[in-house]
C-alpha cells in the first residue's frame, strides 16, 4: 500500500468489548495502555489488534464493541523530523537518508520546526491542550528497518493532550438526519517513522529502504469512545479532512482502505484475548508472534533533545529569537477554516442540505470545483449542487477518477449550466451535452449544442406546428384530455417533446397545447 500516507492504527487499533447492563455502558476497556507492536513484515499500512476489555460475566449481558484508535499521519514537511534529509514519496530506495537516519554513531537528532508547528496546529484544530513543555522518549525494539534500535517518540509528556473530535453520522441511512458525535482525543505525539522492509520470499532476503526512516509522524490517540466500525471510519475520515485542511498531513488514504477497515471492524465477530495484527495479504487478522506481543520497549528519556518548550503571547520572552521559538497564539491565528465550519458556511451561504455539504468535502478537490463553478455560472447554487453531486460525481465514480483528473473543467460545467439557466437547452439535452463534454474532445458546451442541434426550439411557430401535428395524429389522446384525464395532457406533451427530439421546452409545449385545445 505504497500510496497510503495516513496509516491507521499502526501500533494497534484497539478493540475492546464492554458489556451493556441495563442500558448503561461499563467502559472498562478505556485504559489504552501499551498495545501491540507494529505488524511488521505484513502490511505496512495497518494493523488491527483485538483485545477484550473484560471477561464476560455470567448472566445475560449484551456485548458492545468499544473502538479506540491510534492514527499515524505522516507530517507534510520538506525534511524529516530530526534530520535534514528530504521527504519525498517514491524516490529511489535509500536516496533520502542522512547520516542520522542511518543511525551512524555520533549523530544527534535536531528537531524540525515545521513538524512541531504541524503538531501544534493539529492539536489546536482538535481542541487539545497544547503542552508548554513536552518531552521525547526512546522506544526500543530491534527491527531491521529501525536502524538506531529505538524510535524517538513522546511517551511521557506529548505535545498535545485532552482534545476532542466532532463528527457526524447519519441515522439509519436516513440521509437527512445527521447526528453530531464526539470522540475524545487522549493525546497527539510527535514520533519518527521507521524505514521499510521489503521481503523477497523467493530469495529469502529482506531489503531495507530507509527513505521513510525518520519522517515525522503525528500519532493521534483516540479514547475508546467509538461504538462501531462505521463510527470509527467516519471519525477517521473527519480527522483526515481536518489534517488536509490544515495542510499538516496529506492524509491521502485511499477510500477503499477505510472501507476495508469498516468491513473488517463490522465483521469482527470473534474477539480473542490476544493481540492480533492485520495481514494485508491474507485480508484477515492473524495472531502476532509471541515475541512481539510481549515486547518490553524499555522506554527511556531521549537525552539528546532538551524539553520542547512552546510559548504563547503572554509567556514569549521579549528578546526571543523568532526562529528559535514557537508561539502557539500566532499559529492559532493562522489556522484555516476547518471542515465543520466549511460545511456550516455552505449550508448558510447556498441553502444546501447538510448531507450535500458533507458530500462536497468528502472528495478531494470537489469543494473547490463546486466553488469554481459557482463563481462562473449564473445558475442557482442548488442547481450547481445537484449537477456537481449527481452528474459530475457520478461520472467520476463510474471511471474511478479524482476531481483533478476530470475531463470536464469547472468552467465547462459552468457554461453548460448557463445554457440551462437561460433555457437555451432542456435538462435532458444538458445531460447529453455533459456526456459529450466528458468525452473530452475539446468542444465547448455551446459548440456541442449547436453541432448536435440540442438547443431548445426557439421558433414558436414551428413548435405550434409540431403541436398541431401531434393533436391531429392522436385523436384518442385528445379525447382523453377533453375528458379531463390528467395523465393525458402529459402524454401529449411527451409526444411533442419526442417529435422535437427533446429540444422543446415542456412548459412551452403545455402552454401551446392548452391553448389549442381550449382548456
Amino acid at each position: 500500500m505504497a500510496t497510503s500516507v495516513l496509516r491507521l492504527g499502526i501500533p494497534g487499533r484497539r478493540w475492546a468489548l464492554a458489556w451493556i447492563d441495563g442500558g448503561s455502558r461499563h467502559r472498562s476497556g478505556t485504559q489504552p495502555g501499551p498495545t501491540s507492536n507494529r505488524a511488521r513484515g505484513q502490511s505496512s499500512v495497518t494493523q488491527l489488534s483485538l483485545r477484550t476489555a473484560q471477561k464476560p460475566r455470567k448472566g445475560e449481558h449484551k456485548w458492545a464493541a468499544v473502538v479506540g484508535l491510534e492514527i499515524h499521519a505522516q507530517i507534510c514537511s520538506n525534511s524529516k523530523l530530526f534530520s535534514g534529509a528530504q521527504v519525498c514519496f517514491a524516490a529511489p530506495p535509500n536516496s533520502l537518508v542522512s547520516f542520522f537516519d542511518a543511525s551512524l554513531p555520533g549523530t544527534l537528532p535536531v528537531l524540525n520546526r515545521r513538524c512541531v508547528e504541524a503538531a501544534v496546529m493539529t492539536g489546536l484544530a482538535l481542541n487539545c491542550h497544547i503542552n508548554r513543555k513536552s518531552l521525547f522518549d526512546r522506544k526500543h525494539y530491534f527491527y531491521a528497518d529501525l536502524p538506531a534500535g529505538y524510535q524517538i517518540t513522546q511517551q511521557r509528556l506529548p505535545i498535545a493532550t485532552n482534545g476532542h473530535l466532532t463528527y457526524s453520522i447519519y441515522i439509519r441511512k436516513k440521509q437527512s438526519q445527521v447526528t453530531t458525535k464526539t470522540v475524545r482525543i487522549k493525546q497527539i505525539q510527535l514520533e519518527q517513522d521507521s524505514g521499510k522492509s521489503l521481503h523477497d520470499d523467493l530469495r529469502s532476503q529482506t531489503l531495507i529502504d530507509l527513505n521513510r526512516a525518520g519522517v515525522g509522524l503525528l500519532e493521534v490517540v483516540l479514547e475508546p469512545d467509538l461504538c462501531c466500525g462505521e463510527e470509527a471510519a467516519v471519525a477517521v475520515r473527519e480527522l483526515q479532512l481536518i489534517l488536509q485542511a490544515l495542510g499538516t498531513s496529506q492524509a491521502n488514504m485511499a477510500d477503499y482502505e477505510i472501507q476495508r477497515q469498516i468491513t473488517e471492524l463490522e465483521n469482527g465477530g470473534e474477539v480473542l484475548n490476544e493481540t492480533r495484527s492485520f495481514d494485508y495479504k491474507l485480508g484477515c487478522t492473524v495472531p502476532m508472534r509471541d515475541k512481539e506481543g510481549k515486547q518490553d520497549y524499555r522506554f527511556m528519556p531521549e537525552p539528546n533533545l532538551p524539553p520542547l518548550v512552546l510559548y504563547d503571547a503572554t509567556s514569549l520572552p521579549s528578546d526571543a529569537d523568532s526562529q528559535q521559538v514557537i508561539n502557539i497564539d500566532q499559529l492559532r491565528d493562522t489556522l484555516p477554516e476547518l471542515p465543520s465550519a466549511t460545511r456550516e458556511r455552505l449550508v448558510q451561504q447556498y441553502g444546501m442540505l447538510p448531507e450535500h455539504s458533507f458530500a462536497l468535502l468528502n472528495e478531494v478537490g470537489l469543494l473547490e470545483f463546486f466553488q469554481n463553478v459557482i463563481k462562473e455560472t449564473r445558475a442557482e447554487p442548488k442547481k450547481v449542487t445537484n449537477w456537481v453531486l449527481n452528474t459530475f460525481l457520478y461520472y467520476l465514480k463510474q471511471q474511478n477518477l479524482a476531481v483533478s483528473e476530470s475531463p470536464v473543467t469547472a468552467g465547462a460545467l459552468a457554461e453548460l449550466l448557463d445554457l440551462l439557466d437561460s433555457k437555451a437547452v432542456s435538462s435532458a439535452a444538458a445531460k447529453q451535452v455533459f456526456e459529450e463534454l466528458w468525452k473530452g474532445q475539446g468542444k465547448t458546451a455551446a459548440q456541442i449544442v449547436s453541432e448536435q442541434q440540442l438547443g431548445l426550439m426557439q421558433d414558436r411557430e414551428a413548435l405550434e406546428q409540431l403541436c398541431q401535428a401531434t393533436i391531429d395524429g392522436h385523436p384518442q389522446t385528445v379525447m382523453d384530455v377533453k375528458k379531463r384525464n390528467p395523465k393525458a395532457i402529459n402524454k401529449l406533451i411527451g409526444l411533442v417533446r419526442k417529435a422535437s427530439l427533446s429540444r422543446a421546452d415542456p412548459t412551452l409545449i403545455k402552454e401551446i397545447l392548452e391553448k389549442k385545445l381550449s382548456l
Binding site: 547520516f99 542511518a102 543511525s103 551512524l104 554513531p105 555520533g106 549523530t107 544527534l108 537528532p109 535536531v110 528537531l111 526512546r138 526500543h140 530491534f142 531491521a144 536502524p147 538506531a148 534500535g149 529505538y150 529482506t206 531495507i208 518490553d296 520497549y297 524499555r298 522506554f299 527511556m300 537525552p303 539528546n304 533533545l305 532538551p306 528559535q324
Partner: protein
C-alpha cells in the same frame, strides 16, 4: 621543540623557527619510537603530512589560521573522523570509516591543526585504565621516565612492571605525555579525561556540559559525555577550549548563549576566592601521599589569601551507584544501533535476522560492553524502571543540588583529588574486574559529570614512586574560564616537573628549554 607547550611552539611556527612539516615529521618519528606505548590505534601519517604542507603554505603566505595552525594534535578513537577509521577500540567498529567529522574535529582542522592519529581507549570508552580495548592496553609513558625508574623498587626492573595510563582516554593522555602531539581530544563521561591526565602528569579538562559539541562523538552516556582536552599546561587548554566551545546546530544540547572565553591573564589573583574542600571526598582508600598533597594545596590557596572552607556534598556516597544505573541504561540504548546492518561488524551467521543480530553483538562487543548492556536493559525494563532508572535520576538531581548549594553559599571552586592513587602497574590493575575498577577510579570524578560542571585535573607533584599526582578543581556550570584561571594560578605555584623520557632525549628530539625539573614546590 617537541617539549614546548602548544603556545610556545605556535609562536615558534609564527616566527619561522620551525616549519609545520618539520614539526609534523618529528612527531611522526616520535610516534614510531613510542609505538610500544600503544597510544595510537591509527596513525594518520599521510593526512598529517598533507595538512602540514598546506599549513606551511599558509605560513609562507602570511595567512596562518591562528594559534593551532600547523600544530600536531591527536584525537581519541571515539570521535568520528571523515575518511579515517574510527573504531572505539571495538571489533564492532573495526574497519568503520565515518563519512563525516565530529564538530570538534572539524573545528581543529578548520584552525589548521595537524591530525596525527586516533588514540587508544577502553572499548567504547568503558573503563578507567585504557586496558580493555581490542587493540590492547596503553602504557603510561611515566613507566619509562627517569623519575620513575630511579625510584621504583629493584624487583620491578623488568618491563612487565609498566604502569597503566588511566582511562578511558589513556591513548590521548599518553600521546601528549610522550610529546607526540601538543594537544589531544579525549572524552569524559565519568572521569575519562581527568583520570588519565592525572596519571600521565597532564592538564585534563572536562568542560561544562553543553559548552562543547558532542556531534560526532560516539556516545557512552549522552547526558554526561563531553569532549575533553589534554595539554601540557593550562594556557594550552584555554587555547583549545576557545576553539572548541560554542553552540553547534547539530547538537541541540549545546547552549545557545555565546560563552565569553578569553585568554587567561598572566597574573592571577586568588585572594578574593573561596575554595571549598568537600569533606565526603576524604575517603579511607585515598593514598596518604595524595591526601597530603591535597592538604598542602589547600594551604597554598589559603596562604595567598583565598578563603578555604570545608564543605559538604552529602549525596556523594550514592553517586557511584547512581552513575552505574544511568550509565548502563544509556549504554544499553546507545549500543542498540550496532546490529551489523548499516555499518561495522556483521556476523556470518545468517539463518535469521535475529540470529545475525545476536551473533554480531556477541562477536563485536567485549564482555564489559555486553555486561553494561545487560544491566542497562534490566534497569529499563518496565517492572524495574521506577525502582532503578527513575530513582537514579532523582539521586542525580540531589547530587546536582549538592553542588549548587555549595556554589550558592559562596564557594567559587572546589578542590579535590582526581584519583585515589598514582598509576598502578598493569598487572596490579587487572586483578580487579573492569566494573570494580571503574567504580573505584571514578569516585572523585563522575559526580561532576552528573552535575554537568566544568572540572580540571592539574598535575601537582610526583609521588614517592616518581609518578604524577593530579588534583581536581571543579567550577560552577559555564564558569569554565574562571576555573581555568584558578587552575593556571595553581599550576604556576606547583611547578610540576617535565617528564624525562631518557630514550627520547638521548637522540635530541626533545630539547627541554627550561630547568623546571627540580623546582617542585609541593614535595613529599
Amino acid at each position: 621543540m617537541l617539549g614546548r607547550t602548544l603556545r610556545e611552539v605556535s609562536a615558534a611556527l609564527k616566527q619561522g623557527q620551525v616549519t609545520p612539516t618539520e614539526l609534523c615529521k618529528k612527531c611522526l618519528s616520535l610516534i614510531k619510537k613510542t609505538k610500544y606505548l600503544n597510544a595510537y590505534i591509527t596513525v594518520s601519517e599521510e593526512v598529517a603530512l598533507k595538512q602540514a604542507e598546506e599549513s606551511e603554505r599558509r605560513y609562507k603566505q602570511g595567512q596562518s589560521l591562528g594559534d593551532l595552525d600547523g600544530i600536531p594534535v591527536a584525537v581519541k578513537d571515539n570521535f568520528s573522523t571523515a575518511g579515517i577509521e574510527t573504531t572505539c577500540a571495538s571489533n564492532m567498529l573495526k574497519g568503520y570509516i565515518p563519512p563525516y567529522n565530529a564538530t570538534v574535529v572539524q573545528k581543529l582542522l578548520d584552525q589548521g591543526a595537524l591530525l596525527m592519529g586516533k588514540t587508544n581507549l577502553d572499548e567504547f570508552a568503558m573503563g578507567s585504565g585504557s586496558t580493555d580495548g581490542v587493540f590492547g592496553p596503553v602504557k603510561n609513558p611515566w613507566s619509562y621516565s627517569k623519575q620513575h625508574r630511579e625510584r621504583r623498587r629493584h624487583d620491578e626492573h623488568d618491563d612487565s612492571h609498566w604502569l597503566i595510563a588511566g582511562g578511558s582516554s589513556g591513548g590521548s593522555a599518553a600521546s601528549v605525555a610522550a610529546f607526540t602531539c601538543f594537544a589531544a581530544l579525549g572524552s569524559d563521561t565519568g572521569g575519562s579525561t581527568r583520570n588519565p591526565a592525572a596519571h600521565c602528569g597532564l592538564v585534563g579538562f572536562k568542560p561544562s556540559y553543553g559548552l562543547v559539541s558532542r556531534h560526532g562523538l560516539i556516545p557512552l552516556v549522552n547526558s554526561m559525555d563531553v569532549p575533553g582536552i589534554f595539554t601540557r599546561c593550562v594556557d594550552d587548554t584555554a587555547i583549545v577550549l576557545g576553539i572548541l566551545a560554542g553552540h553547534d546546530p547539530k547538537d541541540s544540547t549545546t547552549v545557545q548563549d555565546p560563552i565569553k572565553l578569553s585568554r587567561i591573564p598572566s597574573e592571577v589573583d586568588v585572594s578574593g576566592l573561596c575554595i571549598g574542600i568537600p569533606k565526603e571526598y576524604l575517603v579511607p582508600e585515598l593514598s596518604s601521599e595524595i591526601r597530603s598533597l591535597w592538604s598542602q594545596a589547600a594551604d597554598l590557596f589559603e596562604s595567598e589569601g583565598a578563603k578555604v572552607i570545608e564543605v559538604s556534598l552529602p549525596h556523594t556516597s550514592y553517586s557511584i551507584v547512581c552513575y552505574h544505573v544511568l550509565c548502563t541504561s544509556e549504554v544499553a540504548s546507545n549500543m542498540a544501533r550496532f546490529d551489523g546492518l548499516q555499518y561495522g561488524h556483521r556476523s556470518g551467521i545468517d539463518v535469521s535476522t535475529e540470529a545475525m543480530y545476536a551473533a554480531t553483538r556477541q562477536e563485536g562487543f567485549n564482555d564489559v560492553v555486553r555486561e553494561r548492556i545487560l544491566s542497562g536493559n534490566f534497569f529499563l525494563l518496565k517492572e524495574n524502571y521506577e525502582n532503578y532508572f527513575v530513582k537514579a535520576q532523582k539521586v542525580r538531581r540531589l547530587i546536582l543540588r549538592d553542588f549548587v548549594n555549595v556554589f550558592d553559599s559562596g564557594v567559587d571552586v572546589l578542590l579535590t583529588p582526581t584519583t585515589l592513587t598514582e598509576a598502578v602497574p598493569y598487572l596490579e590493575f587487572i586483578k580487579e574486574d573492569n566494573r570494580t575498577r571503574s567504580a573505584q577510579d571514578d569516585i572523585f570524578t563522575q559526580a561532576v559529570n552528573m552535575a554537568g560542571l566544568p572540572a580540571v585535573s592539574v598535575p601537582v607533584a610526583l609521588s614517592n614512586q616518581g609518578l604524577p599526582i593530579g588534583l581536581q578543581l571543579i567550577g560552577r556550570a559555564f564558569c569554565d574560564q574562571q576555573l581555568l584561571t584558578v587552575a593556571k594560578w595553581f599550576e604556576k605555584q606547583v611547578q610540576f616537573p617535565v617528564i624525562q623520557l631518557q630514550d627520547l632525549m638521548d637522540d635530541g628530539s626533545l630539547i627541554l628549554e627550561n630547568g623546571k625539573l627540580t623546582s617542585v614546590s609541593l614535595t613529599q
